[in-house]
Point group: C2
Chain length 584, copies 2
């Protein structure tokens, strides 16, 4: 049977559509309910972390999920607010006055979304290759530590601000006198509960006879109990009124309108770089989550589709009063292990979050901020990966230094800079290993047309005509080494009148290398030495012929090395043989 | 004769010392006088460009020259204020209040100097390899345009400020009403004279019978006439008093004291990045000047010594009330062609500049700023190199884009960012060409122990055990492609139970690639596939054995590919032969 193009396109985008059934729907539904229970407190907490009102977190958990389902390629991915992206948002909008932040966060999501969509349309999925794995884990470790530090203020119930570890700690210490003991009590108790349930509950339930998988799921949901209890306690004991405990407060009821946030040039100037870094981090992080989930179920994810999926999610987050979103590793894992079979699960989560936005918000009013901060802090523990930094260091000092610098840069310069520092250092260290092109002075095996390395073989070289064989492609990082090498040759061989560059293994000459060759040509000329080429690949020769070098070249381009030597070798002056010819 | 170590060390640092004579001194002296005549107006102009008082330019032309002579390796290099470095200084200190700039400029020189010295001591000369030639010329072209734009305010005699082309033009246009017609007249006449003498004087003198070399030298010195005339005119016609023409004004007489400028932490935070970029630009630019000069005279320059020389110059510039300095291409060329033979010429220049600082400054008081601005603007013409950007673009779109982005970045973001943008883009484009490691599924030639590419040869492969041969080193930029390739293999071969990675050509596995292998191992395991290795180089194997991967590897490490296949191949089920074995 021949499928219509439309059908096959739908099939490619949503292969799970065919064969969807009531029983699959039930499984998706169960997973969706569990994810929603996890998501409600998390989206409030992450909005708090981003320095935004709680409803923004809820809004970011409705439409972005639908957009991802339409365009993304992972079946189990749960999109929405996440810790690292929330921290990046906080850093990007930190310098703005309070009233401008809401709009800026939406614009940030919008710009990031557009950037991701453009990258996706340009098939730019390869960009993730630049962000090495050790940089990502060092970056997330640094960000997690910074997130923890940023949440201490809610645990201590004091005012504090800043975007670097130094600023945060400084403002925390200078305000510590105004500490709220009730916030500290609520925060510490919540943190203790979250930590214990995370660490021991699954194991305990398993020991009590529950199945391993179920035990883990129940343990994952345990936080909701503490959330509910702290809401009840805060309300019943009138903690906000009596002890000045900070709570979530009134959350507007209802769903956001789809509107384009007001964008101006100054805002774009301020936000484009954070948006770019955020887009890359969101993509690389989500892609790694998607790949891990896909490999478990023997599916595949497509980097360019992921770009479109993440782009669409962020774009719609920006239009619907939300803020930047990302694929959440923890919620996606829960979604998968709770039995989700298709992205319909995410659609149900979006619907449930919509319902929450309309009816649940009054219930959440009394939730203490200290409890949410404790939730964030304990969640950060699972993001730490100091082991990876240590192992990278043990394996390779250069890679380890890059990871460490990334980690430190996040803490000292803030979350936007870490990834940039890491990517640039990783590229630098890699290029560092390729700085010296392999090359050798060659000479002729007497009586043959064979030319070999003069240092290793017993070949004939003459002082007037030297041949340098280049064994690698020439590009900007190794071209100057070539300049230097030739400068040395000129000094070492004052009798030289001709230099042949023999290029049998040069596959590529980039513009900088070409320019170095032009410089070499000029410098050799002013030193009275002609530059020739031999054995150039034909496509390289063609490109050179079109360049300025061909016009200004003091010597010639020979087809073979032997032709060159035949043409350039001076008539041997037999009377002075022993003076002129070095036989090694 | 055996030289004492001390002698030979001096010989190595100052090889020209032996054989120095009165006649060489005379030649050095003549060149020094000519360079000084050129340097006096230039150092005032560049101080103006940097937004600093005129004496700072003079101070930067005394001690730095002596320091370079002591530590640098180029014989003809003329160190001192230059256009691009002055603009970088202006940009770095632009945000500071007027009274803080003097100290900040000195501190900037001090930090850059220390950075250069450290790089030199660590043998960090290779760092220049990262700055490709096309990036440098695009950068200097952009900077020259920005310099021209920044000087228009002196020609028009209005107030204007900013560090980007946009800001400069905006403030110029908004203040254009206050234009000073006398400044415009003086500026345009000076510019016209400088331009005509630069373009036609040498040729005219040559036609009149002067020797070519002498003609060029005289033409180079022509500006001093206009300088002298404009000082006389400005004083005689009382232009400052009658027409409010801006002049250089009183310059303190005498030499600077050597003092450490007051440095505080906030200043360091503000200046470290500009200082780093400045250090790199100063070094790369000077190195290129030094190499060009050295090649003419068949000398050699040493990158690490140049670092020390530039470092010492800037360090002492910072301590002696100056600002960042650099090797000047134009003055060095004049020095060389005026017949300088040794660095003694620079020592004489330093002495003459010291004398100027003590006695000449009252004379310079009436020099109009518009004349100096015209001098800078015309000097910028020779820095433009649009042709190089265009040729780079013609030769390679990627390299051309990098050059263009560098140029645009200088204009839009300011002079500090251009080099960073260029270096990062160049590295990115290079790594982009190495993203996909070459690899192939291999199979066995029936009846032999030879394994070859299954797509090109008629070999036997089986569905349960697949072999992927990796033909390149694995590092962060290509490791993820491997992950993706293997994810695709898993989906394409649902019957696969074992995957062998055959690594005969893998010379290096960096930490990120190792981590990718760990991830691949985990993902394969959860998909029910064991990962094996074969034909690993022994040093790679050793490193892998020490890593976590060796502990968690689901499969084994085999010495040869054949061993691996012998161990893993399932007992052939002959009854289903045609189902199980694909024979291509």
């Amino acid at each position: 049977m021949v499928e219509s193009p439309k059908q096959s396109r739908m099939q490619r985008q949503w292969p799970w559509l065919s064969g969807y059934s009531a029983s699959i729907f039930t499984e998706d539904m169960v997973a969706a309910i569990i994810v929603t229970v996890l998501l409600v407190p998390q989206c409030l907490a992450y909005a708090l972390l981003a320095g935004l009102p709680p409803q923004v977190g809820i809004y970011a958990s409705v439409f972005p999920l639908i957009a991802y389902t339409a365009f993304g390629s992972s079946r189990y991915m749960s999109v929405g607010p996440t810790a690292v992206i929330s921290l990046m948002t906080a850093a990007a909008i930190a310098t703005l006055p309070e009233e401008g932040r809401l709009v800026s966060a939406a614009v940030l999501a919008l710009i990031s979304g557009i950037m991701l969509i453009i990258m996706g349309l340009l098939k730019g999925g390869f960009i993730m290759n630049f962000v090495s794995r050790s940089v990502v884990s060092a970056y997330i470790t640094g960000a997690a530590l910074l997130i923890m530090i940023s949440q201490f203020k809610h645990i201590f119930g004091v005012q504090a601000g800043g975007t670097t570890a130094f600023e945060l700690l400084k403002s925390l210490f200078s305000n510590i006198d105004g500490m709220n003991k009730m916030a500290l009590l609520v925060g510490l108790l919540s943190a203790l509960y979250f930590w214990l349930s995370r660490k021991y509950l699954a194991f305990g339930l398993f020991k009590l006879g529950l199945k391993a998988k179920k035990s883990r799921l129940v343990a994952r949901l345990a936080p909701i109990l503490a959330i509910a209890f702290s809401i009840w306690a805060s309300r019943y004991f009138e903690l906000p009124e009596k002890y000045d405990l900070k709570i979530v407060g009134d959350i507007p009821t209802g769903l956001p309108m789809i509107t384009v946030p007001p964008v101006d040039f100054a805002m774009l100037q301020l936000l484009w770089l954070p948006a770019l870094v955020l887009a890359i981090v969101a993509f690389v992080d989500s892609m790694s989550t998607a790949q891990t989930l896909a490999s478990r179920s023997r599916h595949r994810v497509d980097a360019n589709k992921e770009l479109l999926g993440m782009g669409a999610s962020n774009f719609i987050a920006g239009l619907s009063g939300g803020y930047p979103v990302n694929g959440s590793m923890s919620r996606s894992a829960v979604n998968y292990s709770a039995g989700a079979k298709t992205p319909v699960s995410s659609l149900i989560v979006a619907a449930l979050m919509g319902v929450s936005a309309m009816f649940l918000t009054p219930v959440l009013k009394y939730l203490p901020l200290a409890t949410l901060a404790a939730l964030i802090i304990v969640a950060c523990f699972s993001l730490f990966d100091f082991k990876s930094i240590w192992q990278t260091w043990k394996y390779s000092k250069g890679d380890g230094f890059t990871a460490l610098a990334t980690f430190v840069a996040v803490l000292i310069f803030g979350v936007q800079w870490g990834v940039l520092v890491g990517v640039i250092l990783a590229m630098t260290f890699h290029i560092r290993t390729t700085l010296r092109p392999h090359m050798a002075i060659v000479g002729r095996f007497p009586g043959t047309e064979h030319y070999r390395d003069a240092e290793r073989f017993n070949v004939v070289t003459i002082e007037e005509v030297k041949t340098l064989r280049i064994d690698e492609s020439l590009y900007f990082a190794n071209a100057r080494y070539l300049e230097d090498k030739i400068a040395r040759l000129v000094v070492e061989h004052p009798k030289m009148t001709d230099l042949i560059m023999m290029c049998p293994a040069v596959n590529r000459i980039d513009a900088s290398a070409l320019s170095s060759l032009e410089t070499i040509n000029k410098r050799l000329e002013s030193a009275g030495v002609k530059l020739h080429f031999s054995e150039l690949h034909s496509q390289i020769k063609e490109r050179l012929m079109k360049s300025d070098l061909a016009r200004t070249l003091s010597g010639q381009i020979f087809f073979t090395q032997h032709e060159a030597m035949e043409a350039l070798e001076p008539e041997p002056d037999w009377s002075q043989f022993s003076d002129h010819v070095d036989i090694h």
